[in-house]
Amino acid sequence: MPIFRIMFLLALLAFGVVWIRIEVNRSGRTIGQLQNEVEIKEARNQYLKLEILRLTSPETVSQQAREKFGFEPIKPHHVIVLEK
């Protein structure tokens, strides 16, 4: 009967190997999806940061200050420099 035991063990081993491979595949798929999600969120975040940068650029700020509030750049001799 040892031959049957060996065969049974071999079958069990084969099943284990297959099960591990399936798990590896499943994990790989999940990692792929998660990695993709992370990358999208990072890209979105990066876009938002760049949008902030665009909205706070000197050109945009000057234009907004001029059009919305009627501000004009101050003359340098009107600037009072405080000593440190």
Partner: protein
């Protein structure tokens, strides 16, 4: 007597039968096992590579690219991950629904997608560089029947948050993230990353199952420029307005710190990415060059500030057939400050002649004309200075007020900065520092004195002379309340295609520094070929003022005049 031995009958008992049956059953797996062992051991390489090719896919990710930032760490160029959306027609279940969905999501006309569908083979790209929000919408339906056949491929896009600002210096990188021009090309090695490869398994409908990374991602460095994005904006804004007002073909505005040689702004208009007029192009500077000739003569001692120059009745025949005329004044004699204020060609020509070709040549070389500045900008021009032994009398004279050869804008501002800082030629810098992936910072823009070209006494005299140009001469429109401004205007005729100098084709410029008592900024403004005939004093000097005023406020530079208003 004889006993017959009888062998026992062969009995096939159950045990023997099972053993034999078991042996026969195991024989086949044993053969397979031996074969597999042979294949695994002796044919391993061949089969593993076959299996690798069949099962796995190597995904070469686009190169990551480092950032380009201004001196304060504000991003001027950055790579952002985007995606391309493609259609694998074979797998699409419902063409009409899928195309309608893509048209709505990507804001594209349906007809445009259908046109591509009909014209191409099995696979085609619907849109490239789609933004994350659109990508999310598409990726959400990817595993539904509607999304079957759609493929999303990652790629990177180079973003310039300040739009066109400094784009001529930053340059361009291609879709593979390789630097093609400008700073992108200059620092391509530091900004680039090796392509990272990931091993992944093929799955249905282009789905990717990650396996393991082949190459660790190498992070990339960042390049910090000496450019200040706010000063760059001041320069670009003032330049754009001036170019549009006078209808010039091009315009250049450069701002440099005279003490350190750092370039704070380098604006060209119109902007062409990676083509910087400031570094790559040459021009004849015209009267702004009188500053160099007069400073050289004062330094060499061939002219003194108290000298009075005979104007030869305002019509000087230098050589047979070559006459210089001063039409802008009616004086018989001019002092050196007056020569500069009135921009007298006769005066500057005579000073250059008195200095002599050999001395003038050596001063020009010492000021850096005819040599590259080592700023390392790709395609930087070195201008030209011919050997003095080939100069005629006319050549020497014209070099005093016009300079018959070519200089770059950077060379001229560098020479004026030397006058501003007390006589030292400083190495110009465009790159402030490099920040490597491991956090190590390499400072590049340390002040480097190349050589002394003028004595401090000469520069003090020149500052007063140039200040008088703004106070009482052609540069009045560069005057800034509260500050002493020094500078020189220039209006130069351009060489025409027919030969000689064209009367209607000219370059107007102003080069100066502020405040004169302790110069913080040297500014050069050039307007090339204005449609409306204009002068350096009327067109370029106001641009200098428009750049300098907010700059002085921004850097909180104290006025150097005591009584003003």
């Amino acid at each position: 007597m004889f006993k017959k031995t009888v062998s026992p009958p062969v009995v096939f008992n159950i045990k023997t039968r099972m053993r034999r049956a078991g042996f026969i059953i195991l024989l086949a797996p044993l053969v397979i096992f031996v074969r597999l062992f042979y294949m695994q051991t002796f044919l391993h390489e061949e089969f593993s590579s076959k299996a690798e090719r069949a099962i796995y896919n190597y995904l070469a990710e686009d190169r990551l690219r480092g950032k380009i930032l201004d001196v304060n760490g504000l991003t001027l160029a950055e790579s952002v991950r985007t995606h391309s959306c493609g259609i694998n027609k074979r797998y699409v279940k419902d063409k009409d629904k899928t195309v309608s969905f893509l048209a709505d999501t990507l804001d594209m006309p349906k007809s445009q997608i259908l046109e591509k569908w009909n014209k191409t083979g099995n696979f085609f790209f619907v849109a490239k560089k789609i933004k994350p929000d659109k990508y999310i919408k598409i990726s959400e339906i990817l595993r539904t029947p509607l999304g079957q056949g759609l493929e999303l491929t990652p790629e990177y896009e180079r973003i310039h948050p300040y739009n066109q600002s400094a784009l001529d210096i930053i340059g361009a990188a291609n879709s593979k993230n390789l630097g093609l021009s400008g700073v992108e090309q200059m620092f391509n090695r530091e900004l680039s990353q090796d392509i990272s490869k990931k091993r992944a398994k093929h799955a249905r409908r282009g789905e990717i199952i990650y396996d393991r990374k082949l190459k660790e991602e190498l992070s990339v460095g960042s390049v910090y420029l000496t450019i200040d994005s706010l000063i760059q904006y001041y320069a670009e804004n003032a330049l754009r307005k001036a170019v549009e007002t006078v209808g010039a073909e091009h315009g250049v505005a450069l701002v440099q710190e005279p003490k350190s040689g750092r370039i704070l702004a380098a604006a060209s208009y119109p902007v062409s990415d990676g083509q910087s007029l400031a570094f790559q192009f040459t021009y004849e500077p015209g009267s702004t060059f009188k500053t160099i000739a007069v400073a050289s003569a004062l330094d060499a001692g061939t002219a003194r500030i108290t000298d009075s120059i005979d104007m030869e009745g305002r019509k000087w025949e230098v050589a047979k057939g070559f006459v210089i005329q001063d039409k802008q004044h009616d004086k018989a004699f001019l002092s050196i400050p007056e020569i500069m204020q009135l921009s007298s060609n006769i005066g500057a020509g005579k000073i250059a002649l008195e200095l002599g070709p050999k001395n003038l040549f050596y001063y020009l070389k010492a000021f850096g004309f005819g040599s590259k500045t080592d700023i390392n900008f790709n395609g930087e021009s070195k201008g030209s200075v011919s050997l003095y032994t080939n100069w005629t009398k006319v050549d020497t004279v014209t070099k005093g007020y016009r300079y018959a050869e070519a200089v770059t804008h950077q060379q001229l501002i560098g020479a004026d900065s030397a006058i501003a800082n007390g006589g030292n030629m400083m190495q110009p810098h465009l790159n402030d520092r490099l920040e490597y992936a491991d956090g190590k910072v390499e400072k590049r823009a340390k002040p480097v004195k190349i050589r002394r070209v003028l004595r401090p006494e000469t520069t003090e005299t020149m500052k007063k002379v140039l200040q008088s140009v703004v106070e009482a001469g052609s540069g009045k429109r560069a005057h800034i309340t509260g500050y002493n401004v020094a500078g020189k205007t220039g209006t130069a005729e351009k060489l025409s295609k027919e030969g000689g100098y064209g009367k209607r084709s000219h370059v107007v410029s102003f080069c100066g520094f502020v405040p004169t008592t302790d110069p913080q900024f040297t500014i050069l403004v050039i307007l090339d070929n204005p449609a409306k005939y204009s002068f350096g004093g009327t067109a370029a000097a106001p641009v200098f003022k428009e750049i300098a005023e907010p700059l002085l406020s921004y850097k909180a530079v104290k006025p150097d005049q005591l009584d003003f208003e």
